[in-house]
Symmetry: C2
Subunit: 352 residues, 2 copies
DNA sequence: GGCCGCGCTGAAAACGTTTACCGCTTGTCA
DNA sequence: TGACAAGCGGTAAACGTTTTCAGCGCGGCC
């Protein structure tokens, strides 16, 4: 069942069928109608491969993430896909599992399928490898992957843009929120430091703490890996301190979930004995008990910005240059894991 | 950069390059080596579309699920993808969002890309639509979608198989576990009844309850939709009863998360005041507080069985027929949301 | 009434592979 | 040394589209 069958059945040429399927408007409505009837009757579906082969465009975007199992990503993917469909593209997903081998395979597959653009949201897809994409002139958008101008220095003309996330704002709101409640000892369960995303959050935290004049003993910061598992370890470490923090901020929600787990397991009441703030505001955060206070960045905005950046590169012209960077804001969403610290008064004593 | 470039550079014909890339062993190792060198030097990547077009096989499997945002599915997808890669296939994902329109688009996309097989794990991809795939002779595997022999009655020769899940075992274990602990009033937060998966769980629950001679007032069963949101509603409904259950079993873990949320919010202690059992045993279950007792079915086994079934259909021959059905077991994983009911003794009074 | 132009359709080339088929080379055996 | 077989490599067709280009028919204008 191919275009020829349809053409024969409708008594037109294959060129006409092609035009009808692509909604080219120079086709006589009479013929168009006849063709559509045949198409529906026969259930004809055009072959994407042949289409892509000849047109040179696959109408396919790739999304590279690190771990589809982290709830943050499916939410992102869904947004990406919806937006992509909106502008006429399909989406293929590559999960690197933070493994170099997987990254290579991932890039290989994207190249094989001749994607028209790639969104990257994982660290360490080594610039070396990405070079391969850029060599082919494939537009790319890096979502919060590296500090602008660092590591990835695109050949000036290349179709590369970045989406940067303003961690500062959300995290400052979070720290201030805690400070206003009366917390003076605030810990941070960081993400892996080789990961720009994580490091940026940590830096934002440190700056916010400093800005309001609080002390930050180095043992209040624990480097984790953004999994619940290690979030538990981090919390254990903080609780073991002589003078444990009365509040913890976490580099992502999975870490926060692990932290809450350990804290509750140790008999602490949240938020009474310990305040917790997550980051990402995955959907699940509100179903935790208590519902988690978290810092949100809109997955929808982010996905949408990524798609639009790719599209812009593809349609780029002198009068319509693609944006080289888009910023996304973060904001605090207060729920019920934050409150006045139990020892608030004593913390306020001079000398603290 | 195509096969011709490589051929020219290596001083061989394109046929040889093709053979080298496909590991055909009739190629002189000398030539093969030369070709590989050129391939690596130039970074040549074969074009999947052209390949698929001429060979007639896309080396692509489709997976149709209902909602990528439910943590159960990413875990499934990951397993499927790994197994698929193992046998030489890639995976494309279709998320129907339980929307008829989306299902149509989904099938359309699979047909367009000429997938070599499809795994379905969502209800109501209307048989009508699936007919379209089967018409094309595309192998399909239905994962726990409909009772065998029901709805989907494949034209006998067609490449369709099913994977059925033995809910009975896991759920019986769960109910017995509760009964042994002393629970007599056990509620069930069901999934949507139009969904075979959910209905099967509900039936298994009812049978298990009956088997051990407990009563099951109809208001102890609440029909939900497998979201945390509605799990909360369900729990509220149960708690509002004059004589609320001392334990609830849930049709999936998201529902259980919602239920726990509401119960804890109402001031109940889990498991002291209320025991909870989930279903699916998503990874998150163990990070809840308390860690959730749940009924597990191995995502890995399930994904693996699906891939193998598709592969078997593709390679089918007289002496190697594909399996028409594969069974997957379920089993109880006991954690800390189940214990002796507070009112255990009074419940045991005669007359109960 | 004739010519020009416009709107629409169809023929054919091209996209980058795989693979059947054919022919060459090389080795072996008589 | 010659003939034949086996093993390899190359030529060309084919896959299902899109798209360019040319041509046909019809209407309007002079």
């Amino acid at each position: 069942m191919d275009i020829r069958t349809v053409a024969a059945e409708a008594g037109v040429s294959i060129a006409t069928v092609s035009r009808v399927m692509n909604h080219v408007k120079t086709v006589d409505p009479k013929l168009s109608k006849r063709v559509w009837e045949v198409v529906n009757r026969l259930g004809y579906v055009p072959n994407t491969q042949a289409r892509a082969l000849v047109s040179g465009r696959s109408r396919l975007f790739g999304v590279i993430i690190s771990d589809i199992t982290n709830p943050f990503f499916p939410e992102l993917i869904q947004g990406f896909e919806e937006k992509a469909v909106e502008v006429g593209y399909e989406t293929m997903i590559g999960s690197t599992k933070r493994d170099l081998k997987q990254m290579e395979l991932c890039i290989q597959r994207m190249l094989e399928r001749k994607v028209d653009g790639v969104a990257v949201m994982t660290f360490g897809i080594e610039p070396l490898l990405l070079e391969r994409l850029s060599l082919q002139g494939i537009p790319m958008v890096f979502i919060d992957v590296a500090p602008p101008g660092h590591a990835i220095t695109p050949p000036p003309g290349k179709a590369i843009s970045t989406i940067s996330i303003d961690y500062e704002k959300g995290i400052r709101e979070g720290v201030q929120h805690l400070a206003v409640l009366g917390h003076r000892r605030i810990g941070f369960l960081a993400g892996p430091r080789y990961l720009h995303t994580a490091l940026a959050r940590e830096h934002a935290f440190r700056r916010s703490i400093q800005a309001i004049g609080l002390a930050l003993p180095e043992e209040y910061v624990f480097e984790g890996d953004h999994t619940a598992e290690v979030g538990m370890d981090g919390m254990s470490a903080l609780l073991a301190l002589a003078d444990p923090p009365t509040a913890v901020m976490c580099s992502n929600d999975m870490t926060a979930i692990g932290a809450m787990h350990t804290a509750l397991g140790a008999g602490l009441r949240i938020p009474h004995d310990l305040s917790v703030i997550g980051f990402d505001d995955i959907r699940l955060a509100q179903y935790m008990f208590p519902p988690m206070t978290s810092i949100q960045m809109s997955r929808r905005d982010l996905a949408s910005a990524a798609v639009m950046a790719l599209k812009a590169h593809i349609d780029e012209s002198e009068d319509h240059p693609a944006p080289s960077n888009t910023g996304i804001e973060t904001r605090l969403v207060v729920r019920q894991t934050t409150s006045i610290p139990r020892g608030a008064l004593s913390d306020l004593k001079p000398g603290e």
